[in-house]
């Protein structure tokens, strides 16, 4: 049991980025985000014995995190609606003189928030530079379907960005 607990701590520490990114994609409210990360951690802890080594641990963690986040998002949709689409802290990552990039990131965030739950997951994995094969393993669709969906989302993204420039 102690060994498992240590593995779990290590796992969470090493892959906390996954939990943070998923939480960021599905929750705009910081309070919700913290709750979601806690719930994802609990579900990972409870599902550890189901992990099979034939898939990468990051793939497995993305599955659990996204499954929890999509359901959690539904549960807390009301609260999210009330908090507005954006959180300022996410955009204070660039220098003040880099306004254009900052604006583009704001637009990207807005764009992601407009997507439906499944497209959000796809966009997140795409931005994380995951291969089509890994995305297909996480989502449970074929790599060619991943490609089709991503190019469609990218098309929409292009339109959004070009509208901004007008």
């Amino acid at each position: 049991m102690k060994g498992t607990a240590l593995n779990f701590q290590k796992l969470i520490e090493e892959h906390k980025g996954i939990l943070l990114k998923v939480a960021r994609t599905y929750c705009q409210n910081e309070e919700d985000r913290v709750d979601l990360i806690q719930e994802m951690s609990i579900q990972i802890w409870r599902s550890l014995d189901k992990y099979k080594e034939h898939c990468k641990i990051s793939t497995w963690m993305y599955r659990v995190a996204l499954n929890v986040a999509i359901s959690f998002y539904r549960k807390n949709a009301k609260r999210n609606e009330n908090t507005g689409p954006l959180n300022e802290e996410l955009f204070q990552i660039t220098e003040p003189d880099n306004k254009e990039k900052e604006g583009q990131l704001v637009l990207l965030e807005c764009f992601i928030q407009e997507l439906n739950d499944l497209d959000k997951a796809l966009m997140l994995l795409y931005l994380e530079d995951k291969s089509y094969f890994e995305i297909s393993e996480i989502l449970g669709i074929s790599p060619s379907n991943v490609g089709t969906k991503i190019s469609r989302i990218k098309g929409k993204l292009k339109i959004s960005f070009s509208l901004l420039k007008l």
Partner: protein, 222 residues
Amino acid sequence: MKESELKQYWAAANEKLEMSLQISKINTDELNQLKVYHFISEMKAIKLFTLICGISWVGIGSAILSRIFIYQYTYANKFFLFSASIQIALTAIAVIVYLYQIITIYSVDITEPVLKTQEKLSRLRSSTLWIARILLLQLPVWTTFYWNESMLENGSLLLWIIQTLVTLFFTFAALWLFFNIKIENRDKKWFRLIFEGKEWTPLMRAMELSQQIKEYTIEEER
């Protein structure tokens, strides 16, 4: 903007976030004891409770009705007997749907691919619509169970006109709702009016997700 730039910004934003939102050291002993408010465990508790109530209702009701059918049929009020039988039969069907839901809840595995798990969860939540349809189908029998022979013999014409209109109205409403409460109508005003409120939100969301899953699956089959 180039794709690579986009990914760079995303990564940079994540780094910032990672710094601002630290995960505190998790005590696994506490995790074991923690009673989490989780979507699956929450559903399990509510549905198990409803199932127990439903089984008790159907069990006790069936026992009473079968006794009447066997030993007192000749003297029994037929309106009550048949109305109650229809009510119990429909509740029994709803209980079966509940049972299916509980079995599905136990088979949900959140470590499986997202679409597979969400499809299961979505189907599970949407099946609640079936329960609503079946239970609403009982409406007319609640307007007939109290009829009796004395009412037939001594009731005024006005009473029977009102009674017939009420029963016809509830029959029509029950049948109409039975055939029209379906996912395709989720955006209609009357549908949203019936399924408004916090307790129905997961159902409405599940239906939206179900549509998204369908779009993904259609692409898969091409």
